[in-house]
């Protein structure tokens, strides 16, 4: 018990030196994963593909009033097959989204935040005035603990992010390429649907030219107007979804290519820009919904 105060003072002294050393190591060695985290977070939130998959599934609902006879039989059969494929089509997006969410958590800062616990500790020590530890020591101890903790976890965290990105990139690129193909099939299906519906009005309106048909012709034209607007908005969403998937592909590839260089300003700027692009795309899709 006698040697305890001396020991404590020695510990406190060495803490002071250790703080300096550790701060240096941390500044040099700690990679900032903020850009990776933001990119992955934005990517996980992009739901354009899901919405368009649902639109693809519901094709028959929209074309149903306009098809008859043999075309209707085929349309019903197509409807059933689209309904059947729907869960598998969604699962592709869920997989990509889950990957991005996990990457965002893994690259996260808040997830592994230690400062709260450390501040509690500092105030805990301050409640013992007779210990011979003054406030300076408490602060020193608190900051070194934070630094050491951050250093231990961030080294592990960095390696984990690196492994996930490098192992994940080829598979992710394949999945995103597949999603691009699927969006193009959705778009082509939607084109045929539009032409079936708009084409119907184009033809029938031509034959409504007697005074008796005036009301019918006006209603048809008004309906056609709103249909055209609906398809214009849908087209904008296909285009934005394609851009979004391309940005995710591009962003993940950039991270993988520069995995040892993530702290460079140039790489950070590029990844940051892609994350912003994805956010803008999401806003545009939101606008094309109304």
């Amino acid at each position: 018990m006698q040697s305890a105060p001396e020991c404590l003072i020695r510990v406190m002294k060495s803490i002071k030196y250790a703080i300096l050393i550790t701060l240096l190591i941390t500044i040099v060695g700690c990679v900032n994963l903020k850009e990776v985290r933001d990119f992955a977070g934005e990517s996980a939130k992009l739901s354009a593909y899901t919405e368009l998959t649902t639109r693809f599934r519901d094709t028959y609902q929209r074309e149903q009033p306009y098809v008859s006879g043999a075309a209707e039989t085929l349309a019903k059969d197509n409807d059933k097959r689209r309904q059947d494929a729907y869960p598998d089509l969604l699962k592709i997006h869920k997989t990509v989204s889950l990957y991005m969410q996990t990457l965002a958590t893994l690259a996260g800062d808040e997830t592994f935040d230690l400062s709260k616990g450390m501040d509690d500790l500092a105030s805990g020590i301050k409640t013992y005035p007779n210990l011979g530890i003054d406030e300076k020591h408490v602060d020193a101890f608190s900051s070194i603990s934070k630094v050491v903790a951050k250093w231990i976890t961030s080294a592990y965290q960095e390696r984990a992010v690196r492994e996930m990105v490098m192992d994940g990139d080829p598979h992710l690129q394949t999945l995103l390429d597949g999603m691009l193909s699927l969006v193009s099939y959705y778009k082509k299906t939607n084109d045929n649907e539009r032409k079936s519906i708009v084409g119907f009005f184009d033809i029938e309106i031509q034959y409504t030219n007697t005074p008796k048909d005036k009301l019918l012709s006006t209603l048809a034209k008004a309906h056609l107007q709103s249909k055209n607007r609906e398809y214009q908005l849908a087209d904008a969403r296909y285009a934005e979804a394609e851009k979004g998937i391309m940005s995710i592909k591009d962003g993940h590839k950039k991270i993988a290519e520069n995995i040892d260089n993530l702290s460079s300003l140039e790489v950070k700027t590029v990844i940051e820009r892609i994350a912003k692009d994805i956010k803008t795309i999401r806003d545009n899709i939101e606008a094309a919904r109304s």
Binding site: A4, L74, L106, S145, M164, G178, K188, E193, S196, D202
Partner: protein, 136 residues
Amino acid sequence: MALANKKQVEEMADKLTESADSIHERLMKAIRDKEIDQPNAQSIFQDEAILRQRANGLYIDAANSVITDLKQSQTSVIALVDTANKKIKRIRDITKFIDLIADLLVLASAVYAAKPSPIITALQEVKSDIEAIGGE
């Protein structure tokens, strides 16, 4: 599926769509030039609609073959997610372990000050830290 791969399926569907487009264009011209009456126009439009449904059927074939192609990649990505989640848990364990060390230091200080009440509080903190580490 008679067609070999999704590229061919898609190309075939595109061709059917193009044919339907040509029919439509010709039909609209015939209507404007009054070459055709309404029932005949409707019958030709029906053929156009059938072609579009056939094309859309082929796009579903193509989509289904993408689904099959992506199965393996999906399995691999899910495995990566599982591995990452284990690592996230490990990092959280490290932070809990650091909490324990911090509370042990408080305990040591309390013991040194020989004040019963802070000792008991500090002991409880240490106990809950150990439970947090062992509990998951």
